[in-house]
Amino acid sequence: MYSQELEALLNKKGITPGDTVRVVSKGKTFEGILLPRPEFGDQGALVLKLRNGYNIGLSIGRGAKVEKLARGKEEFAFPRVELSRRQGLPDITLISTGGTIESKVDYVTGGVHMVVEPEEMLAQVPEILDIANIKVINPMRKASEDMMYTDWQVMARAAAKALSDSHGVMITEGTDIMHYTSAALSFMLSGLSGPVVITGAQRSVDRGSSDAFVNLVCSAHLAAKANIAEVGICMHASSSDTFCNFTRGTKVRKMHTTRRDAFRPVNSKPIARVDVEGNIEYLEGSRRRTEEGASTRAAVGYEPKVALLKFYPNSDPEIIDYYIGKRYRGIIIEATGMGHVAVAPSDERYSWIGHMKRAVDAGMVVGITSQTLYGRVNPNVYRNLRLAAGTGAIYCEDMLPEVALVKLGWLLGNHKRAEAAKMLNKNIAGEITERTEVEWE
């Protein structure tokens, strides 16, 4: 929005963004298309797109003149694909939910469209139509940080339904919480008949350099023909546009704010590596597709009253009492090292032991994971670990903290408390591995 004075002036002259205008400011004359005011910047500066394509901010002071030359043309429509079914190609379903991969700039006004239609996104990668017949469903359109467990429930139901008549499922999503989504779907879906491939982009699809093209093509190849029946994330394996990793949904984490290869396997290898030509190299054992009898089930119960707490030097354990008071049913603690929290600090008010015990006694499930992310927690090696374990807290092996959080929510949403507590450190969807190889890539 422009400043009130400017809006009034534009209203009076019947000028709206998109119109061609002439502005005389400080003795200089400019002609161009009036743009909507960008979110940031001086609201009193009028922004024009000049004929040479450049935008320019003009101050409209006393003596400045604004005049309308021509009405704006109709809004620019992005190209879109027509989806038609072709004989001989496998069927896949694309569940599109929003995010960077579906964002774009409008070339005419310069405004940023946070979302485009899935068919417009696919128009940027027309070769994808030679890989599979794509059925598109679009149950939501949002930035991933706005997602809640209810969105995972929608996605899980849609994926289970889609797998009944599709070879595989692709989900496009914002990347920020993608690894929470992949964990949630890993637990919610069982008996999968094919792969559920989650992908996105670190660079929006309107850029010639977007990682979306390679991510979409590789994901489509996986969904169409991979002999895998698991939920995972398919994104760039390196900074190069050469191939993608498909990593198990419970063993993957966004490890970089901006790089293309932000999604890294943790305590595991990728299940497979896939290139844009569709070559798939299987790297790690995985659940295989079963041709007959598989029927994907979605158990979508979820208890949202679970929390993820980070322990750090001087962290006040009274926060646990807050959750007890709020009747939370579970807490995952992101402890240090092998699973430490303070047990005998110089100021004993900062000991976590009593508070953790109180939480367990109040009926909460308390799980311990490590903020090192890599490696396994252990309740025995040090005395302090044994004291923490003595509170009834459950040590969660080599499970990632976020995965443990989602798992606990899912367990409490589908099972009784005692059963949930028992299952927390038992493997369900590849989130816990019994052995860790000496080296892995």
């Binding site: 400011s25 400080k26 200089k28 960008p38 940031f40 910047g41 001086d42 500066a45 922004v47 797109k49 000049l50 040479n52 394509g53 450049y54 935008n55 320019i56 901010g57 003009l58 101050s59 620019f76 992005f78 190209p79 700039v105 070339y107 005419v108 310069g110 940023v112 128009a123 940027q124 660079r203 699809v205 309107d206 850029r207 010639g208 350099s209 977007s210 093209f213 390679v214 900074s239 190069s240 546009d241 050469t242 704010t257 901006t258 790089r259 293309r260």
Partner: protein, 612 residues
């Protein structure tokens, strides 16, 4: 050389785009070093890019060519000069304030007007030279002018933008870029198309270069300034010429370009009168299966190898017609074919016998293509897919010859001083906002500060004339890196400009040739030398002696004067010296006697006045 009026009759239009790298510490949108270091790359990244949705569905030939070529881009990354921003792995940081300040100084120097708010833009780049597929650029100045030879040439716009990557290698399928250069701040200055002759183009380029140099904040050396020239004549085309090695030959190259366009206009008329037409390419491999022609045989060794040819109805004799010395219409068409990765085309206006084609092969070719009297044909050999692209591009160019002179980006052949085809001229640059950077408000004070630092070429030239009084030294000083120091010395010490210029330009060069590291002398030391000279503590001859001792600061200068006994002998002391040692017949001999023993301490003029 043709006169300005001749060019006016031709409808000659010409404007310049001068690109100058700025000498800032950091790059424009990140904290990488902005000075090239010639080090070895530490890693490489492979990328593919694609032309994204076209604005209003218009097909940009330049972008379409690049997409059809489908090349792989490899980026060499460097330790100190490449970061995640350059690799398109991190959003840009804030705009470099030092670069903006210099850009505004340049804007003010051309009397241009800076907008109230700068809007960072992305300009789409399709050749892979930027890993992000766009170049960040800001309009910083608008509507200035340049005075030269009594004429005023309009400055349309001034931009502050990112330098592109340097090209390391390229072929039909791969381009390797060095990402050390990417992102160095660059100022682009565009003139109005008001230049009236090739000679004037050269002079305007020189003047702009000089003004940039005078700011003292621009990079120097090969590649740090680039001049692009836009040229057209009536009935011709707009051609952007890039890659001038030096200004000296700019006028000659522009003259050649005008000649080329005139020749192409003649060819176009002739083709139209012959009702010429280009036929679609066909595969002629079967005719040449057993050929002895080396380049064709080599292509056919590849199992995917093929020869493809097109009939050019009515083109006979015109493909070989010279349009510039050593350049023919065939060379132009070859340039297009090469975009697809072939070495060039073979056409029927060439001596095909010399290639080794047998007469029956040529007969077979003509028959297969349906070539008749007055027709020409052209062919390419190589991998079939490459041949198809190459001949598709070549056909477009051949057909254009009968329709129009194509708008192109052209390079310079430094030997022949003619222009050569590089790529079709991109359509109106696709620009959209750089949404990762906020608009930058310009406060009035900032621009006022820049105005104070503005340079004035005319004024500087006049000052040099007054101070140095030697045309050759004035010209040399104008372009010298010592100009800033020179002005400081004459302003602060009042020393005579002729002497200062001679020391800074000539004496230092002589000493350097002797292997003396005079470049280690600090500006402070140099300033002090002239202070002492100006207050007559030392003679002009002593200056040369001092600089050969390489003083590192003012104290060092004093020490050299004392230890080498360089204090000037003048006034009463000189009179005493003349009395004691001034023996000999006549004035000349007396002076010779004294100067031979006290050359460094006695000023010749003073002695001259003293000896009667």
């Amino acid at each position: 050389m043709a006169s300005e009026t001749d060019y006016e009759k031709l409808g000659f239009m010409c404007g310049l785009e001068i690109h100058q790298r700025l000498a800032t510490q950091h790059k424009l949108f990140c904290s990488c070093d902005a000075q090239l270091q010639n080090d070895i790359s530490v890693a490489e990244i492979q990328r593919r890019q694609r032309a994204v949705a076209g604005e209003l569905g218009r097909i940009d030939l330049s972008a379409a060519f690049e997409t059809q070529r489908g090349r792989k881009f490899v980026y060499n990354v460097f330790r100190n000069t490449t970061c995640l921003v350059d690799a398109d792995e991190e959003p840009p940081h804030e705009l470099n304030g030092e670069a903006l300040h210099t850009a505004l100084q340049i804007v003010a120097s051309f009397g241009a007007w800076a907008p109230a708010e700068l809007e960072p833009m992305r300009k789409e780049v399709v050749d892979g030279s930027d890993p992000s597929a766009f170049q960040r650029t800001l309009l910083v100045g608008h509507g200035g002018n340049l005075e030269t030879g009594g004429r005023s040439i309009g400055i349309t716009s001034i931009f502050l933008e990112e330098e592109s990557s340097g090209i390391e290698y390229s072929d039909g399928s791969t381009v390797i870029y060095n990402v050390d250069r990417l992102g160095i701040p660059l100022v682009e200055i565009d003139t109005e198309p008001e230049i009236r002759s090739p000679a004037e183009a050269k002079e305007v380029a020189r003047r702009i270069g000089l003004a940039l140099r005078l700011t003292g904040r621009v990079q120097r050396g090969i590649g740090s300034i680039r001049q692009d020239v836009n040229v057209s004549i009536r009935g011709g085309a707009r051609v952007e010429i890039k890659g001038f090695q030096d200004l000296e030959t700019m006028d000659k190259v522009i003259e050649s370009e005008v000649q080329r366009q005139l020749a192409l206009i003649d060819i176009k008329k002739e083709l139209q009168s012959r009702n010429a037409r280009v036929h679609p390419p066909i595969d002629v491999t079967s005719v040449l299966g057993d050929t002895k022609v080396k380049i064709v045989r080599k292509s056919l060794e590849d199992p995917d190898g093929a020869v493809m040819a097109s009939r050019l109805k009515g083109y006979a004799g015109l493909l070989g017609k010279e349009i510039n010395p050593g350049r023919r219409l065939g060379s132009e068409i070859s340039g297009y074919a090469r975009l697809a990765g072939v070495g060039g085309i073979i056409h029927s206006d060439e001596d095909l016998g010399a290639y080794g084609f047998a007469e029956e092969e040529l007969e077979g070719l003509r028959r297969m293509l349906g070539v008749q009297e007055g027709d020409a044909f052209m062919m390419v050999a190589g991998e079939k897919r490459v041949c198809e692209n190459a001949l598709a591009f070549a056909n477009i160019r051949a057909q254009q010859a009968a329709l129009e002179i194509p708008n192109e980006t052209r390079g310079v052949d430094p030997k022949l001083l003619v222009t050569t085809f590089l790529r079709p001229l991109p359509g109106g640059a696709r620009m959209y906002p750089e949404t990762d950077v906020r608009p930058i408000p310009l406060d009035a004070e900032e621009y006022e500060r820049a105005k104070k630092a503005a340079v004035d070429v005319e004024k500087t030239m006049r000052k040099l004339g007054r101070e140095i009084k030697n045309r050759q030294l004035e010209e040399q000083m104008l372009w010298s890196p010592q100009l800033g120091l020179f002005l400081e010395v004459v302003d602060k010490t009042g020393a005579d400009g002729g002497t200062v210029a001679s020391v800074l330009l000539e004496k230092t060069t002589q000493a350097r040739r002797l292997g003396i590291d005079v470049d280690a002398i600090t500006d402070g030391a140099m300033l002090h030398i002239f202070e002492e000279y100006s207050r007559k503590r030392i003679t002009k001859a002593a200056i040369e002696e001092i600089i050969r001792q390489v003083p590192l600061d003012a104290k060092g200068v004093d020490k050299i004067i004392r230890s080498r006994k360089l204090e000037r002998i003048s006034g009463k002391n000189l009179e005493k010296l003349v009395r004691e040692e001034g023996k000999g017949e006549g004035k000349a001999e007396i002076m010779r006697n004294i100067m031979s023993r006290h050359r460094l301490n006695v000023d010749g003029d003073e002695l001259n006045k003293l000896v009667k």
